[in-house]
């Protein structure tokens, strides 16, 4: 298989990381907290879509919308119950709570849906485009397209709308934003709602590309996507996209040309080097602290 083919399979893995990383980075960028439960919201989204689409045979489009609605509500509930009471607490407390929420979601999923793996039927036909020896599956093209659309919509939303302006203000200084009459709590809730809606889309695309669905499906891709977000510069939306794609490509090229046994060591080695050279990540901005 040629270099190009390995590149394409890396892009298809990377596009899945990228779409998960978008949710991570957006919540971090605005609420300044690492939502480690993001990967598990993805899993819930995938289950909702699985039941709607595979079990009850609903239209794929309606299934995805349903999954987004459920995840959006879930995101708001999690934020209200677990994170909001800790708004004034040290960030470490919130981080630990997020890990707790992650385990809670996994175990609830185990209780409700059991551990037996389910095979997710792709919402996109499982076919490939043949470009003279180079095969690209539809799901890869679709995932990259969805990533780009989400990226553009999110950037526009944050930069052009009033709510987006409020988000940027909250991100910069919560106290000052409140003094300017911005409802900080609502703004953060909306951020979580959007992040969780994105998680539902990511879950559906993750399981369409790699069709095994279990209660722990979201956790490992979640951690990889978090790595991708840090790689690209956490808080930066184009950075998450770039970081995700690069992580997938490096992982697959390392597997192909060096060894499958040490591919992870190589991926994280590259991450360490990038962070040594650019501590804020590839596209991250270095925040200037005023003392």
């Amino acid at each position: 298989m040629s270099f190009l083919n390995y590149l394409v399979s890396g892009l298809s893995l990377g596009s899945v990381y990228a779409i998960i990383a978008l949710g991570y980075t957006m919540v971090y960028g605005i609420a300044k907290m690492l939502n480690f439960a993001h990967g598990d919201v993805i899993m819930v989204g995938a289950y909702v879509c699985f039941f709607a689409f595979t079990r009850y045979g609903l239209n794929p489009f309606i299934s995805v919308i349903l999954a987004m609605l459920v995840c959006t509500c879930l995101g708001i509930v999690i934020e209200k119950l677990a994170y909001k009471p800790l708004r004034a607490a040290p960030s470490l407390a919130v981080l630990i709570t997020a890990i707790g929420v992650s385990y809670l979601l996994q175990n609830l999923a185990l209780l409700f849906w059991s551990s037996n793996p389910k095979v997710f039927n792709s919402i996109i036909p499982n076919k490939s485009l043949d470009l003279g020896g180079l095969t690209v599956s539809y799901i890869t093209l679709f995932t990259i397209a969805v990533c780009i659309v989400i990226m553009i919509v999110l950037t526009t939303f944050i930069n052009k709308t009033k709510l987006g302006k409020a988000m940027r203000a909250v991100s910069e200084d919560k106290g000052a934003a409140q003094l300017m009459g911005i409802d900080v709590n609502t703004t953060i809730s909306v951020t979580f709602a959007i992040g969780s809606g994105l998680a539902a889309i990511a879950g559906v695309l993750l399981c369409s590309a790699y069709p095994n669905l279990t209660p722990t499906t979201g956790s490992m891709p979640g951690i990889k996507a978090f790595t991708a977000a840090v790689f690209g510069g956490i808080g930066s939306i184009p950075g998450a996209f770039l970081g995700g794609l690069m992580l997938g490509v490096i992982e697959n090229l390392a597997k192909a040309y060096i060894s499958t046994q040490i591919s992870d060591a190589i991926v994280f080695g590259v991450l360490i080097i990038v962070l040594l050279v650019k501590p804020a990540g590839l596209l991250g901005k270095r925040a200037q602290e005023k003392v």
Partner: protein, 393 residues
């Protein structure tokens, strides 16, 4: 203030919920069959642990179902009566420790092992220290039996599966260029791969490439598959559980790569995954000592009862569970075990002496014998998947 109250109520609700979840997980001790409790009848309490929930539940449930059928049959015969109590360990060594202690408190006389290897390493060490007779249906790691005179296996050890697979491939001439995809952070997969490679070298089989994956990289196999394809492999050996194997089959199908796939006992269960397209597994060969389509009267009776009771075709784990109960029944009857006059340590010694000298015919093999090291000796067999069911080769 209001928020705080809400949070407190939420936490309290969570606590109640988790308590409910805990109590839901433990199984009630099985009651002996009504008719069997005649005056002076010998009743033996058999404890077991296995994953009844969690990622490996499919194995634990199958063992439990198979064992329950055997216990019913044994109790109906009117001789020794069995009480069977299986605790959930969720394939977690720590929970297995708790499950084992619960069984000791219940007053078990002997143990029908732990279903999966990692927790079985813990419970078998306890059973060795406390002197409980221990027979595992399916924990195949050598760490489970090493250095423990009272621990026996119904299944092949991991090294045996690797050796058996290589021998089978060579004898039946299934492939000339062999590739292996294995999980290099998993002792089950690594153990089988190591002995497979050794035996393949001894038999002159050509291994063209070896590809690995880990827990963190078990989603995308496109590179591994295309490297097997490039190396010209006509048989790919998959010593792993069915979950990653199902993804490999799916992704290989997407790129049109169709070698002979060869799996071991972890592949068992792939056909019953919800939503799995069984046509992807067409032609997959699985090394297993058991196939449900075996025409013997013993097996036909078992398959029929299993289907009537649980609505599915039994797999190898169910057959292992069934065989374990019968092997214990045979040894206990012949050794004249009676918990009324013997403590568990005396029972253990008598059972060990019987186990190393008897021959047992079961579903998973005829004329099985056990060595002093706890390994079973029986002929390996292979089945091939055709039209979504196992067919003997």
């Amino acid at each position: 203030m209001n928020m705080k109250k809400f949070f407190a109520i939420f936490l309290a609700a969570m606590m109640i919920f988790s308590l409910a979840a805990c109590s839901g997980g433990s199984t009630e001790p099985a009651q002996p069959a009504d008719g069997g409790e005649s005056e002076g009848a010998v009743t033996i309490k058999i404890g077991a642990t296995g994953p009844l929930t969690g990622g490996a539940a499919i194995y634990g449930q199958a063992v439990k179902n198979g064992a329950e059928i055997a216990v019913e049959e044994v109790n109906a015969m009117g001789g020794i009566q069995f009480e069977f109590n299986m605790q959930d360990d969720t394939h977690d060594p720590e929970k297995a420790e708790n499950a084992y202690n619960a069984l000791v408190d219940w007053g078990m006389d002997m143990m029908m092992g732990t279903v999966t290897s990692a927790p079985a390493e813990v419970t078998s060490a306890d059973a060795y220290a406390d002197r409980y007779f221990f027979l595992t249906p399916s924990a195949s790691s050598t760490n489970v039996i090493d250095g423990k005179d009272n621990v026996f296996q119904m299944c092949f050890t991991d090294p045996n599966q690797g050796t058996g697979s290589a021998t089978y491939i060579s004898e039946k001439n299934l492939g000339s260029k062999i590739a292996i995809i294995w999980k290099n952070d998993d002792s089950y997969s690594t153990g089988i791969r190591n002995t497979f490679v050794e035996q393949a070298a001894a038999l002159g089989l050509e291994i063209v490439t070896e590809e690995t994956f880990t827990e963190a990289t078990k989603t995308d196999f496109s590179v591994q598959i295309s490297k097997c394809q490039e190396a010209g492999a006509d048989l790919v050996f998959l010593p792993m559980y069915y979950e990653p194997a199902s993804l490999i089959l799916n992704q290989a199908n997407a790129v049109g790569y169709a070698p002979t796939w060869f799996g071991v006992d972890g592949m068992d269960g792939i056909l019953t995954m919800e939503g799995f397209d069984t046509s992807l597994a067409e032609g997959v060969i699985v090394l297993t000592p058991y196939s449900a389509d075996d025409s013997s009267a013993l097996n036909q009776n078992f398959v029929k009862k299993y289907q009537d009771k649980f609505g599915e075709v039994p797999n190898q784990f169910a057959a292992d569970g069934y065989d374990c109960i019968y092997a214990m029944y045979k040894a206990a009857t012949e050794a004249g075990i009676d918990p009324a006059s013997m403590d568990h340590s005396a029972i253990c010694d008598a059972m060990v002496a019987k186990f190393t000298s008897m021959t047992f015919d079961g579903l998973t093999g005829a004329s099985m014998t056990w060595g002093k090291d706890g390994t079973v000796s029986k002929l390996p067999n292979a089945v091939v998947i055709q039209n979504g069911v196992y067919v003997g080769m």
